[in-house]
Amino acid sequence: MRKSLVASAVAAAFMMPSGAMAQDSIKLGILVALEGAFAEGGADGVRNVELALQQAGFEAGGKKIEYVVAPSDTTPDTAVRQARKLIEQDGVDIIIGPLSGSEGIAMRDYAKTVPDKTIINGISGALETTWVDPAPNFFRFNLDGAQWGAGLGTYVVEEKGWNRVATVAADYSFGYTNFLGFAVDFCRAGGEIVERFWVPLGSSDFGGVIASLPDDVDAIYLGVGGTDAINFLNQYNQAGSETNLIGGTIMADQTVLTSRGRAKDALIGTPTSGPLASDDPSEAWQNYVKAYQEAFPEDERFPSPSLFGVGYYIATLAALQAINEVGGDLGDGQAALHEALSSNPLDTPLGTVELNENRQASGSVFITEVVDDGEGGLKNVFKARVDNVTQTLGMTPEEFRAMGLPSRDNPDCAALGGGG
C-alpha cells in the first residue's frame, strides 16, 4: 500500500510541468561551459548575463526576465542534452549559449528541431555554425573565430617583420577556424608557414611538440587557450625556448593573463588579435568595464571582462533589445522576435554590430600586444583596430567557399600568395 502511495506521489511529481511559466515573464536559458578548460571563462559568462539583466532591471518589453543556468562540459553531447533540458523541462523561451565551437555546431542542428524558440550564440566561434546550412533561429552577435584572426597576419608582417612562422594550435574546430583567419591574412601579406602542429584540446603534455619546433623561424603562432595555454607556456619556459610568439585569440585572454606563476611572462611582447581590447578608449567600452567592475567584488571577477564574458553580455543585450522591440510578444513561433534580432543593428561595448543574411555579425577586430603592467601582472595594450570584418574576410562568398572549410591543411598558404 505504502509503495503504491509512493508511486503515485512520484507520478504526480512527473505530471507537474516544472516549466510552468507565468504569462508575464520571459525565461532565458544560459547554456555555458562550467567544466573543463573553459570553466573560468564560462563563469565569467554567467556573471555578465547577470550584469546585463541587472542593468535592465530584470525587465524587457514589459515582462519580467528570469534565467536558468545549464552547465555543459564543452562536449556537443552535453550541450545538446542541457539545451533539451532548458527547453523541455525548464521551459525557456530563448537560449543564450553555447561557449565552444563544436557545441555551436551541435546547437545549430538542435536549433532546427525547435524552430519556434530562439538561440543566441554565447561566444562559440566555429565558422560552420553560421556558414554551412545555418539555422533560421540561430543568431550570432559575436564575430566567428576566423574573423577574430583577421588583421593579425598583416600586422606581424608589416609592423614586426616576421615572415616565417611555425604554428601550434588546438586540434578542433575553433583552433582551425581561428588559425584560418590569421593564416589567410598572413599568407596574403606574403608570410610563410613553415610547419603546423596540432595539439589536442585539454592536453597537459606539450613536450613532444616543443621539442620538434623548428629553430629557423621568426615567430611561433600559438592557437591554444585556457589551462592548455598555461600548461604550454610552463613547459615552453622550462625548455628554455625564447622565440617570438604570436597569440591566437584565446591565447592572451584574461584567463591566461591572470593565472598564477611566471610562465605567462613568456607572452610579453606577443601580438594577438580578437574582438576586444581591454584598454579600448571608446566610451561604450569604458562604461561597460566600469559597470562590470562595480557589479562584482574584486575577488569574484577578472580585472576586466574576459572574451567569454563579453560574448555572453552582448548576446543578452541582443535578447533584451529584441524583446523590447516586439513588446514582449513571443507569439507566432517567435517570428517577430527572430525578425527583430536579425534586422536591427545592436549597440554593444565593442561598437555597432550588424547581422548578415546568415545571421552572423560583422564588426571590428582589435590587435593588441601583451605588456608588463608594472605591478607584476600582464595586460594587453591596444595597437590597432580593423573595422567591418565580414564573415568571408573580405572575399566574395564564392571565393571564400572555394577556399574550403577550416581544417588541419586549410588554408593552403602558397595558393594565397604566401610560402609553405
Binding site: L34, G42, P71, P76, D77, V80, K85, E88, S173
Partner: protein
C-alpha cells in the same frame, strides 16, 4: 524486493513448495507494479522525463549492465564497455547516414545495425582476449588504457572517425512509419531493449555458460581442473557483454543525434563504473538503479543547488558527495542498502500484525 534473479555470492538452495506454480504466479507483485508503471509512464510524464531522463537511464543502464555482467558474474571489472558502445555508435554513423556525407556510406538500416554490433563485438572480444590474461586491478588498468587510447584515436583520426567534431545528424531510421526519435517511441524503444538485455542477462546467468562463468569467478583453478576452458569462457563473456553495450551505443547515438570523441572520453568511461557501483554490481537490476540516480543527479543537481541559494556551477560537488556518501554507507550500492533494510524489516516484523518475516 524479492527480485526475480538469484542473489549472487550466496549458495541458496531454495526448498520450493511442492505444487509447482505457473510462471505468471512466480513473478513477485513488485515486478507487475514496476512493469505497469514503466509501460504507462508516457501517460503521466512529460517528454523531457521520457526522452532525456528515462531514455538516457535505460541506455546508460544497459552499458553498466554489460559491466555488471563481467564484474558480477565473471569477476572482471572492465572499463572498456563505454568505448565498445561508442564504437557501435561510430559504426552506425559511418555505415549509416550522417551529416558528414564524405565519410558516411548511407547503407540501409538492416545492414548497418548488424555491422555495427558485429564490429563492436569484435572490438570488445579483442580487448577481452587481452584483458583476461590479467586479474583484478590490472584488468582495470589495461581496459582503462585501451579506453583512453580509443578516445585519443577517435579524436586524432580524421579519415574514419572525423576527429574532434565527430558525426552529427545521426538519426534512427523511420521504421513502420514511426519517427523513432520522438519522445514516446524512443522511450518504448529504449525500454524494450533494456528489458530484453535484462532478461537475457538473467537467462544467461542461469544457463550452463553463466553458471560456469560464476564458477570460474569463484575458483578458476578448480573449474580448470573440472575441464572448463577458463580463458575461453572469460573471452566469451566479453563478447556477450559487448553485444549489450553495442546495442546501447546505437541507442545512444540516436538519442544524441551525434557522436564525438567526448562520448567515450575518460569521464564517460569512469561514469559507467560509478553507475554500476552506485547501483550495486550484485544483480542485473543494480546498473539500472544506478543509472537512474546518476541521470537524476546529473540533470537536476544545478537546480537543487540554486534552490538552496548556492552557485549552480558547483553541481559536480553534489554528484561527488552523493557518490562518496553512498560508497561510505553501503559499499555494495543502493541494492545493498535495500537488502539491509529488508533484512531489518523482516527481523522487526510487521508493525500492524506483529508477524515476523515473510
Amino acid at each position: 524486493m524479492a527480485l526475480a534473479e538469484p542473489p549472487l555470492g550466496r549458495t541458496t538452495a531454495p526448498t520450493r513448495p511442492a505444487p509447482q506454480k505457473v510462471w505468471v504466479e512466480r513473478i513477485p507483485p513488485i515486478w507487475w507494479v514496476l512493469g505497469l508503471f514503466l509501460l504507462t509512464l508516457p501517460a503521466y510524464a512529460n517528454d523531457f522525463i521520457l526522452f532525456q531522463v528515462f531514455g538516457w537511464t535505460f541506455i546508460l543502464g544497459m552499458i553498466a549492465l554489460s559491466l555488471m555482467f563481467l564484474a558480477g558474474y565473471g569477476g572482471m571489472v572492465s572499463l572498456i564497455q563505454m568505448s565498445v558502445a561508442a564504437m557501435a555508435g561510430y559504426m552506425v554513423a559511418i555505415f549509416g547516414t550522417s551529416g558528414i556525407a564524405a565519410i558516411s556510406m548511407d547503407l540501409p538500416w538492416w545492414l548497418y545495425i548488424p555491422i555495427a554490433i558485429l564490429i563492436a563485438a569484435i572490438f570488445g572480444t579483442i580487448v577481452g582476449a587481452l584483458a583476461v590474461r590479467t586479474e583484478g586491478i590490472y584488468t582495470i588498468m589495461i581496459t582503462l588504457a585501451i579506453a583512453a587510447a580509443f578516445f585519443y584515436f577517435t579524436r586524432q583520426n580524421y579519415t574514419i572517425f572525423n576527429g574532434y567534431t565527430g558525426f552529427n545528424l545521426v538519426v534512427p531510421p523511420q521504421l513502420f512509419g514511426i519517427d523513432w526519435r520522438q519522445p514516446v517511441p524512443f522511450y518504448y524503444l529504449t525500454l524494450g531493449w533494456a528489458a530484453i538485455s535484462y532478461g537475457v542477462v538473467i537467462y544467461v546467468s542461469r544457463a550452463p555458460f553463466g553458471l560456469a562463468l560464476q564458477g570460474i569467478r569463484d575458483n578458476p583453478r578448480r573449474m580448470a581442473a573440472l575441464g572448463f576452458n577458463v580463458t575461453a569462457h572469460r573471452v566469451a563473456a566479453y563478447t556477450f557483454a559487448s553485444v549489450i553495450a553495442a546495442l546501447a551505443g546505437i541507442l545512444l547515438v540516436w538519442q544524441n543525434a551525434q557522436i564525438a570523441p567526448g562520448t567515450a572520453g575518460i569521464p564517460a568511461v569512469i561514469d559507467i563504473l560509478v553507475i554500476a557501483v552506485i547501483g550495486g554490481i550484485g544483480r542485473p537490476i543494480g546498473p539500472f538503479v544506478g543509472a537512474l540516480i546518476y541521470v537524476l543527479l546529473r540533470t537536476f543537481s544545478p537546480d537543487v543547488l540554486l534552490t538552496f541559494g548556492l552557485s549552480g556551477e558547483r553541481f559536480k560537488l553534489l554528484i561527488g558527495l552523493g557518490f562518496l556518501a553512498l560508497v561510505f554507507f553501503s559499499p555494495d550500492g543502493v541494492l545493498g542498502l535495500w537488502d539491509r533494510w529488508r533484512a531489518r524489516q523482516a527481523r522487526r516484523g510487521d508493525p500492524l500484525t506483529g508477524e515476523k518475516g515473510e
